[in-house]
């Protein structure tokens, strides 16, 4: 039973200033996959997600999104440059998730306000709607971001370390939301560090260390051998790196 691919990578290399952060990624994310993106710091997890949402142009190779538009992808970045002191209520901040529906000018009618209320309730924020976001704790704020993601109603949801600095209760609640997305047939990719969590909740795993180490069902991917290999492969950015040998080999093949 192979489900149709929703994201296909074709020898994709992403990076900054010609230095690849991840290179030569080939493979497919099937529609409805709940995929954990695992790898050491500097493995290129965030880079890969940024590439998918189009914030980084591929250095080489390509990927396709099966006809999906940019607005079909919801993305929760790791470095959020949100101004937490901004005078805006929790309700309004969450309601921004309806942008795909109401755009810059349409108003929130009764039905849509109802949807916002439901999103708040799903994250246990129903009593905080009128608070300003500045008054929230870190965990509550992460719930706000998830409520907004709920409203975005996206086909593909990318989460970059969504559980950083939140307590176990919050993690449980957020995992429940992720499970709900999975059940609704959405494709979810989450960059994570907690391997036990990945084993418990994520059927598939992509282990990267600047390249694909292993990709598939979680259990055979997260073996001690693969994890050790991943640790080894993650080397520092080298200012004087040579041109990637694989590219050279490839171009030689072409020239021959």
């Amino acid at each position: 039973m192979t489900k149709p691919a929703t994201i296909s990578f074709h020898d994709l290399t992403l990076g900054y200033n010609r230095h690849p952060a991840v290179h030569h990624i080939t493979g497919e994310v099937a529609r409805g996959d709940l995929l954990a993106l695992v790898g050491p710091n500097g493995a290129g997890k965030s880079t890969l997600l940024k590439g998918i949402v189009g914030q980084l142009k591929p250095l080489s190779g390509s990927f396709s999104l099966d006809g999906l538009k940019r607005s079909d992808i919801a993305y929760l970045p790791q470095q959020i440059d949100i101004d937490r002191t901004f005078p805006i209520t929790v309700f309004d901040a969450v309601a921004m998730g309806l942008w795909h529906d109401i755009g810059a000018w349409r108003g929130l009618d009764g039905e849509r306000s109802q949807a916002v209320q439901e999103a708040l309730r799903a994250l246990g924020l129903q009593d905080l709607g009128e608070r300003s976001v500045g008054a929230l704790s870190g965990g509550q704020f992460q719930r706000v971001l998830f409520a907004r993601l709920l409203l975005q109603d996206a086909t593909i949801i990318l989460l970059d370390e969504p559980f950083r600095a939140v307590d176990t209760k919050t993690v449980e609640d957020l995992l429940r939301i992720i499970a709900r997305w999975h059940k609704e047939g959405r494709t979810v990719i989450a960059a994570l560090h907690d391997l036990d969590q990945v084993r418990a909740h994520f059927p598939k795993t992509l282990l990267i260390a600047r390249e694909v180490v292993a990709w598939g069902p979680t259990k055979p991917v997260l073996t001690p051998k693969n994890l050790a290999e991943a640790r080894q492969l993650t080397e520092a950015w080298d200012e004087h790196a040579e041109v990637c040998a694989r590219d050279e080999a490839a171009s030689e093949r072409i020239s021959v």
Partner: protein, 288 residues
């Protein structure tokens, strides 16, 4: 008391004109200031006000003390600096504040040079400090037009603008409105500075834009209230400033800005959103 407030305006046409001009300014500039404050670009308003100087000076050279010429010149200079700074920010390692600083400093020096070589120091004072008690019809219409335009444009770009201040990367991820919004907003900043400098001068005009907005931060919990309060504070400062200058024979522009400054100081002390006195007062915390 009522008479003391109303009489100067009943008696003198120049006071009425000054009041109308300042009220119109108070409708457009403070909302723009609110967004500048919330984007932590408060000092950019200051920089931009200097940037429009050479344009106004060239307008002055060409046509004398003519409102349309100086305004057009100021507008062109302001937009040029915005575009150049934006271009440098996007294409080099400089951040927006640094590239803007570079251009506005050059622009300011150029402006002062032009005015002092070709004009008298009285002219320079006019440009720097405005002539709120000598607003002619053209100036009033210009200020009113800019205020109207500002409110219309703000209403149109309100949602993307709020989102761009609160969570720019989210706006980027859901729409392509980010750069047009940013640019339109900067145009509004320049427009309002140009509109205000006839009345208050290039230096003081920033005051009516930013002080009420900063004041409002101490009273409002969400941005729409903040805008309303900022406008109210600007209107109040205009009225008080004009009366003070009338009765105490003070220069009008500084009197208005100082009134706004007093409003700020008071709000900083007693404002309900993080005012100093509230923090000093030991209040028992709530249950939840």
């Amino acid at each position: 008391m009522i008479h003391a407030i109303i009489d100067p305006f009943v008696e003198f046409a120049f006071m009425r004109r000054a009041l109308v001009g300042c009220f119109a300014l108070s409708l457009g500039a403070p909302p723009v200031g609110v967004f500048l404050v919330l984007r932590r670009l408060s000092l950019m308003g200051d920089a931009m006000s200097h940037a429009i100087l050479p344009g106004a000076a060239i307008g002055f050279l060409v046509a004398g003390l003519s409102v349309p010429a100086m305004s057009l010149g100021g507008f062109i200079a302001g937009i040029a600096v915005v575009l150049l700074a934006g271009f440098v920010t996007r294409s080099t390692i400089l951040r927006e504040d640094a590239s803007l600083a570079a251009f506005y400093l050059v622009s300011l020096a150029l402006g002062v040079l032009i005015v002092s070589v070709k004009g008298s120091s009285i002219d320079l004072l006019h440009v720097l400090f405005g002539t709120v008690l000598a607003l002619d019809d053209t100036a009033l219409i210009l200020i009113a037009t800019i205020a109207t335009l500002t409110m219309l444009v703000l209403a149109t770009i309100y949602r993307p603008l709020v989102l761009e201040c609160f969570d720019p990367s989210f706006l980027d991820s859901v729409s392509r409105l980010s750069s047009p919004t940013h640019f339109l907003f900067l145009v509004l900043v320049v427009l309002n500075l140009v509109g205000g400098f006839q009345a208050l001068g290039t230096l003081m005009v920033v005051g009516i834009m930013l002080l009420p907005a900063i004041t409002a931060r101490f009273w409002a919990r969400d941005i729409s209230n903040m805008i309303v309060i900022a406008v109210a504070a600007a209107v109040a400062a205009s009225l008080v400033g004009l009366l003070l200058s009338y009765y105490l024979n003070l220069p009008t522009g500084p009197a208005i800005i100082l009134s706004a400054g007093v409003g700020y100081l008071v709000s900083m002390l007693i404002g309900v959103q993080g005012g100093l006195l509230w923090q000093l007062m030991p209040r028992r915390h709530l249950e939840a």
